[in-house]
């Protein structure tokens, strides 16, 4: 092989390995998300806990799971996602304000 062919082959193998490692991370993320989901379902099915604990707890589990989706499945942790992340978080802020409003000042 010429040096150039070796370089190209080396590049390619490096990329394959990088992608494989990332995919492994994704599968780990999936397993974690599965686990978080199971915990949430169990928390609800197990009658002994009070609603005051369960509700914030499952909400927290949901938020953590969404963070995994965004940062790993949707690659928000990668380079080049700064603007995308900024606008998504701005949306999250407006979303939060809206939901907060409807939980507090809708009269009833």
């Amino acid at each position: 092989m010429t040096t150039e062919e070796k370089n190209v082959r080396g590049d390619w193998e490096y990329r394959l390995k990088k992608n494989r490692d990332e995919m492994r991370m994704q599968v780990v993320s999936f397993a974690l998300m599965l686990f978080l989901t199971l915990v949430a379902f169990f928390a609800v099915s197990y009658d002994k806990y009070s609603a005051w604990f369960i509700v914030p707890f499952i909400l927290l589990l949901g938020v953590v799971q969404v963070v995994f989706q965004l940062y790993y499945f949707m690659h928000m942790s990668h380079r080049g996602h700064g603007t995308a992340a900024f606008f998504l978080y701005s949306g999250v802020l407006v979303a939060f304000l809206t939901v907060l409003t409807f939980l507090t000042i809708v009269w009833i």
Binding site: F87, V94, I105, V106, W107
Partner: protein
């Protein structure tokens, strides 16, 4: 590699029906927006005729409610927004050195959706009754409005709103991704900055309106129970959703106007804008705070003192960045070599007019005081001062300023000044006195008033002012017609004092805007080159093939499909053909979307040889 060479000559009509060129789309928005501005203006005239004297019977109560509703809805959604989009389309790609927007096809789609929605909204006039529950269409009233007026409102606005949302995303991506080399964010012209922030506001403010309108459609046409208390609904949900949209909406309207004024002040003072960094900061802060204040439209609904207090303070806070901008504009003029062209007249008169509107806004922001002002003419005076004194003056200034860039001809200065003075006098005559008649207790949205309350003179003066504004607009129309028939040809740098990239190319620009993408060396890039004795911007690339998008009839078809669907769904409870037609319309839309995805369209190329030929011809 080009697939369809664009050599077939098209008729002008077909060209405009299928165009994806931002410059032509700007003209479409200008014409449509201008038309609806006149419609809204006629509605205003009819209102003022009815209110000129007490116990008038020029129009009946029901018609008055329809006029009042449509005046507001038309002016905000079908006149102001499209005219702003006209300026955005005409100017922003040129100011950042781009050849078009990020998504030319979606740009066209945005326009046709707006137009179809606007036409649908006005169909009510001919089909049994226009919407009559105010432009805010509160659920407690609108759910029980007989006839289909409100349905024209909900379905029409939903279609138009989709167009606006698409436009917002388009301009965000354009500004973020397509700036010429050397144009960092802090070297962007201020008009582009205001469009950037306004587009972000559009992205986040329109979805709540979309949801609110869907819920209203579901309640009225599909038997849902969102707002009707009988089966558990809650009418305040509409108010929140509407105003979470509605308040950012007014900042969407005013920010581009601020942008226009920043350009005009700098250009016609022959001096760079004072305090660029703080101006950018102010724009961003206004945009952010704009989402934190919507409850100030709901102070009297009984949400409690804590909610009222929080929102009162947040509302007052917006005065700070706005004040920063006012001072910066004044300081731009200070020490400059001022030229009182028509756009500059609008800009200078905007300062006191808008400040007046702003300070009455602070008065309204004090929640306890608002219990007195709410639903009186004081509020009407406030918002007309900021909208007419801010947005409309900005649009008139912007349209006059960029007219030569769009059409290659300068509007007549003399007629322009006549329009300006008539409009300004009329505006103040109509609305200044309304502050006082509101404080004297006259409620808003009333179709008539009794004699002997001390309101007669004020209303008469108000109505006379409206005549002045109508004549001013007439003079503007005459100006436009006269200018189109004249044989003048404007320079690329039409006003002579251009500082930004759009003035570096011919008026009107060639199809591709820039033969070579410009290299931006600082703020006010054209000014920099001028100060160094050059007439043109340094190019950032050699002359090469330019890739251009093809036109398409699909945006029109998609919008038409939704229009037809709306007609079907509006009549679904009256006629058996309602739902089928609705489904049919949706099918047309989805089929067009499918065709767009399926058929490859890679555009065409303008070849390097043609560009060089053109250049040689010009030199000769």
């Amino acid at each position: 590699m080009s697939t369809l060479a664009n050599t077939k000559p098209k008729s002008v009509l077909w060209d405009y029906l299928t165009t994806v060129d931002h410059k032509k789309i700007a003209i479409l928005y200008l014409v449509a927006g201008g038309f609806f501005f006149i419609v809204g203006g006629i509605e205003a005239m009819l209102i003022r005729i009815q209110l000129a004297v007490p116990e008038n019977t020029f129009v009946g109560a029901d018609t008055y409610n329809e006029l009042m509703t449509m005046h507001g809805t038309t002016m905000i959604f079908l006149a102001a927004m499209p005219l702003i989009f006209a300026l955005m389309n005409a100017v922003v790609p040129l100011q950042i050195g781009a050849r078009d927007v990020a998504f030319p096809f979606l740009n066209a789609l945005g326009f046709w959706l707006f137009l179809m929605g606007g036409i649908f909204l006005n169909l009510g006039w001919f089909l049994g009754g226009a919407p009559d529950a105010g432009w805010t269409s509160y659920a407690s009233l609108s759910l029980y409005s007989p006839g289909h007026g409100i349905d024209f409102y909900t379905l029409g606005l939903q279609i138009s709103g989709a167009g606006t949302l698409i436009g917002g995303i388009n301009f965000l991506v354009t500004i973020i991704n397509m700036r010429a080399p050397g144009m960092t964010y802090m070297r962007m012209p201020l008009f582009t900055w205001t469009v950037f922030v306004a587009s972000a506001l559009i992205l986040f403010a329109f979805p709540p309106l979309t949801v609110g309108i869907f819920l209203m459609i579901f309640d009225r046409l599909f038997g849902a129970n969102f707002f009707d208390p009988t089966l558990g609904g809650n009418t305040i949900i509409w108010e929140h959703l509407f105003w979470i949209f509605g308040h950012p909406e007014v900042y969407i309207l005013i920010l581009p106007a601020f942008g226009v004024f920043s350009e005009v002040f700098a250009t016609f003072s022959r001096k760079r804008l004072f305090g660029y960094t703080s101006m950018v900061f102010a724009i961003v802060l206004i945009g952010f705070l704009g989402f934190m204040v919507w409850v100030h439209h709901m102070f009297t609904t009984g949400l409690g003192p804590i909610a009222n207090a929080i929102f009162a303070v947040a509302t007052m806070a917006i005065a700070v960045p706005t004040g920063i901008k006012i001072f910066n504009w004044l300081l731009t003029m200070w020490g400059g070599s001022i030229s009182f062209t028509t756009p500059m007249l609008y800009a200078v008169s905007f300062i006191p007019s808008f400040v007046l509107g702003g300070v009455t806004g602070i008065m309204l922001a004090a929640a306890p005081a608002d219990y007195q002002y709410h639903d009186t003419y004081f509020v009407v005076a406030h918002f007309h001062y900021v909208i007419v004194g801010g947005v409309v003056l900005g649009l008139l200034a912007g349209v006059t300023y960029w007219w030569p860039k769009m059409f290659g001809k300068m509007l007549d200065e003399k007629l322009g000044k006549i329009t300006f003075w008539l409009f300004l006098i009329g505006f103040h005559l109509t609305f200044f006195i309304q502050h006082f008649v509101g404080l004297m207790g006259m409620p808003r949205r009333v179709w008539t008033f009794l004699d002997g309350q001390g309101w007669n003179t004020a209303n008469l003066i108000s109505s006379i002012g409206a005549v002045f504004m109508a004549v001013a607009v007439l003079v503007l129309v005459i100006n436009i017609i006269k200018t189109s028939m004249s044989k003048q040809q404007a320079d690329g740098d039409a006003w002579g004092d251009g500082r930004t990239l759009e003035w570096a190319i011919p008026s009107p620009p060639p199809e591709y805007n820039f033969k070579q993408t410009p290299l931006v060396r600082g703020l006010d890039p054209l000014w920099i080159e001028k100060m160094e004795g050059r007439k043109e911007i340094v190019p950032a690339e050699p002359v090469g093939d330019i890739h251009m998008p093809n036109g398409s009839i699909l945006p029109l078809l998609m919008s038409l499909g939704l229009f037809i669907a709306a007609i079907g769904f509006l009549y679904r409870n009256d006629y058996a053909w309602g739902d089928p037609i609705g489904a049919g319309g949706l099918f047309i839309t989805f089929a067009s979307m499918f065709l767009r995805s399926w058929i490859d369209d890679h555009g065409y190329h303008i070849h390097k040889e043609e560009l060089i030929d053109e250049e040689e011809k010009e030199v000769k």
